[in-house]
């Protein structure tokens, strides 16, 4: 920061009695030191004079970038499947482990306001195109719309009892990166895609279980992966042959 006016610093030989009207030259305020009173010094080059700041500048840029980088983990990282913790082939078990914060403890009250480690073993056993969708638990039957094809994704799960299964996403990823069915609600209106249809609540009730989830896709899409996650950031990927 450059200041135009510095506080009055009585220099050597400038100690006049305060209060007395000094005879200053026009344009000068009391306490100012005439420019020609400075001791003549050899001028150093601009680079030498500002060397400290020139060194500090890149450091400041790095610090500033680091300070604002909290947005990446605060806003982007937790929202979406950004951390692949396991990648296996179709038919092989994948281990999905990730922590989440349980704010309310809706299904398991003692977990309220704690960070919970969720560990699930999942195996995608088959991904097949189907001609018809089964009748949904609630509501009218869903007909596969014109211009769409439907896939049935079968997943086998194994986890401790009362593992939270809410926000489950079973996504088919096409070769071009299109994500089919990445909503937490599937085509039949189920909003708990990793639970069996008869399950009550959002936690697992058996040590092992199997679900079939239906996903609409474009007819020409070449499905290459299945992604499984619970809102993220951790997820597992199953590669289709």
């Amino acid at each position: 920061m450059t200041t135009l006016v510095t506080p009055a610093v009585p220099g050597p030989g400038q100690g006049e009695p305060p209060g007395a009207a000094p005879s200053l030259r026009p344009g000068m305020l009391p306490g100012m030191i005439p420019p020609d009173a400075q001791a003549p010094r050899p001028r150093r080059s601009w680079g030498r004079r500002n060397a400290v700041w020139l060194v500090l500048l890149p450091i400041a840029i790095v610090v500033a970038a680091g300070a604002s980088s909290f947005r990446v983990w605060a806003f982007w990282w937790p929202v979406g499947l950004h951390h692949e913790v396991d990648r296996v082939a179709l038919g092989e078990p994948a281990h999905l482990a990730g922590e989440y914060y349980d704010a309310f403890g809706l299904d398991v009250p003692e977990r309220a306001q704690t960070t919970v480690l969720r560990e699930i073993d999942a195996t995608v056993t088959s991904v097949e195109q189907v001609d018809q969708l089964p009748a949904p638990e609630y509501g009218d039957p869903v007909v596969i719309p014109d211009g769409s094809v439907a896939y049935a994704v079968q997943v086998h799960f194994a986890a401790e009892l009362r593992t939270d299964l809410s926000l489950c996403q079973i996504t088919l990823v096409a070769e071009d990166g299109t994500r089919y069915g990445d909503s937490t609600t599937d085509v039949l209106g189920s909003s708990n895609r990793c639970s069996t249809p008869e399950a009550e609540g959002f936690v697992s009730e058996q040590p092992e279980w199997e679900v079939t989830s239906f996903v609409l896709a474009d007819p020409g899409a070449e499905i290459t992966q299945v992604r499984l996650g619970f809102g993220g950031p951790e997820h597992v990927t199953f590669e289709l042959p």
């Binding site: 006016v5 305020l29 211009g147 299109t178």
Partner: protein, 206 residues
Amino acid sequence: MRHGRRRITWKGTALVVGAVTAGCALVTYLPQDAGVDTPFIVEGEVGETLDLTYAKLTVTEVRVADTLTGLSEAAAAGGTFVVVDATWRATQGQTSFGGAEVTDRQGRRFWPTNQAGCSTSASAQPGYAWRTTYCFDVPRDALAGATVRLARGGQSEDHAGQRRDAVAVIDLGITPSEVDTLWEAEETVSPEAPGYAPASAGGSEG
């Protein structure tokens, strides 16, 4: 370190004031926002399928109505309702389409109503086409040459949600000579609930 032991001069003051003024002028008058704010506008007409990178969009039909009837209520237009049927087909992942606005020749903007089963937004995933009906209450002098602007970003706060993003602007195809007929027609439209579009995003009506 050298301290600023300098005298205040008219020249120095003018320099500082001038520099600040010049800076303000640059910030005010240079179109600096254009580079960060302008959306990528994809223009089209009714029946055409537009590629917005995140979705394919087709406006399939445009109608006018004096009255909209829904399941629980009927809505009467202050002017006339422009009813826009659109089909969204998401192409990347689950997407919410929050922007729907009609603009007239004078630059006035009109927002949709959520009355009588009309939608003000939509949400869809890849793999299917999703049909949505928007209803805009507009005055007579807004009809000719009006366009509809649809996007995933919302239009509130001066299209803040649409910055640097693809936006479709579709000419509703209303010519000045048609205005009288459209205005006087006493149509009643029952907007269909949003749902799977009968055909693919090709724009053909089923």
